[in-house]
């Protein structure tokens, strides 16, 4: 009996989560962290990790008490666990796929990324260790990561800090940052990604 119940719960969670479930839950994460006395912002962890690795003695930007950010590092660690659990135990019968639109599948095929509707992996095959041996892969993985880390700190926040926390608090600077996110994203999507494949 209890086993049937657990299977039911597992299958329920294993469905793809629609946007109207994911969005309000993200706001809940923000609220829970506010209640605990903290502001939701994942990219701050890169700074904390730099500080913890010794950058605090090299530059005053990293002279922070990273232990005061322990809570945030634990949220990031939890996200690692969450990714493990979701991907290992909560995958639906369709497999670990991204349910992207037909239009996107067509666009991807046009730029030479071969995918089939219904079998689009959540993480593309070109994001893998062997991709690092090509300049395209290196640009996407190391270059993309670098820009995310640089830009997030320059802008003072990432998707969680600006798009969610900042806009929820009606912060004009966050709106400007999010407009910046989209300008950068559009330029790369239309003028760079098509030439990488």
């Amino acid at each position: 009996m209890i086993e049937v119940y657990f299977t039911y719960v597992r299958d329920f969670i294993a469905q793809p989560w629609p946007w109207y479930v994911a969005g309000p839950l993200l706001a809940l994460v923000m609220f829970v962290l506010l209640y605990f006395g903290h502001e939701f912002g994942i990219s701050e962890n890169f700074r904390l990790m730099c500080a913890a690795d010794g950058a605090d003695s090299m530059n005053e930007f990293f002279k922070i008490d990273w232990r005061a950010g322990e809570w945030n590092l634990l949220v990031a660690l939890g996200a690692v666990f969450g990714g493990y659990l979701a991907s290992h135990y909560f995958i639906g019968p369709q497999g670990d796929i991204a349910h992207i639109s037909d239009a996107t599948v067509t666009s991807l095929n046009q730029i030479n990324i071969q995918v089939t509707q219904g079998a689009v992996p959540l993480v593309p095959e070109f994001l893998a260790w062997k991709a690092l041996l090509t300049w395209q892969g290196l640009l996407m993985i190391a270059g993309g990561g670098f820009l995310v880390g640089f830009g997030a700190r320059y802008a003072g926040g990432c998707t969680s800090g600006h798009a969610i926390s900042g806009l929820s608090a009606l912060q004009l600077p966050s709106l400007v940052a999010v407009i910046g996110f989209f300008m950068g994203g559009l330029v790369v999507t239309y003028f760079i990604i098509p030439f990488l494949f």
């Binding site: 629609p18 309000p24 990714g83 991907s87 993309g144 996110f181 760079i192």
Partner: protein, 137 residues
């Protein structure tokens, strides 16, 4: 343990972004091509719910667990950093197909190459720290 609740929040965050596919490169590409409402729905409904939550916090003077009123600090009003930094972040978001939280989540999902993402993002943050005084804010 008092700190373990943050791990639970992180696990929830991991489930949200993994199961809604917001951690997928393809979903980010789709968003920037405006080919689905999905990502806009996630971000939009998060913001609308967030605005409601923040307004209730302000109106009712809701306190955090330490008994202090919850105050959300205003972001500084110097705009170049938001537009330039935001633009750079957006470039990285689109090309890497992952913002910071999904990097941690996908690493946990077994895509070990995301270690390289994290090291690259730390390097980017470090370089920002070095250049901070010389670039416009």
């Amino acid at each position: 343990m008092r700190m373990s609740r943050y791990i639970l929040v992180g696990i929830l965050l991991g489930f949200i972004l993994y199961k809604s596919e917001a951690a997928s490169w393809f979903r980010i590409y789709e968003m920037f091509r405006f080919q689905s409402f999905h990502m806009f729905g996630i971000i939009g409904s998060a913001i609308i719910s967030g605005i409601i939550i923040v307004q209730i916090i302000k109106k009712r003077h809701i306190k955090n667990q330490e008994g202090q009123e919850i105050v959300i600090k205003d972001k500084s009003n110097t705009y170049p950093r938001y537009i330039i930094g935001g633009f750079i972040f957006g470039c990285g978001w689109a090309i890497a197909g992952a913002c910071p939280a999904p990097m941690f989540i996908l690493l946990g999902a077994g895509h070990t190459v995301f270690i390289v993402y994290l090291i690259a993002a730390m390097t980017g943050t470090f370089v920002y720290g070095l250049l901070r005084r010389r670039i416009p804010h």
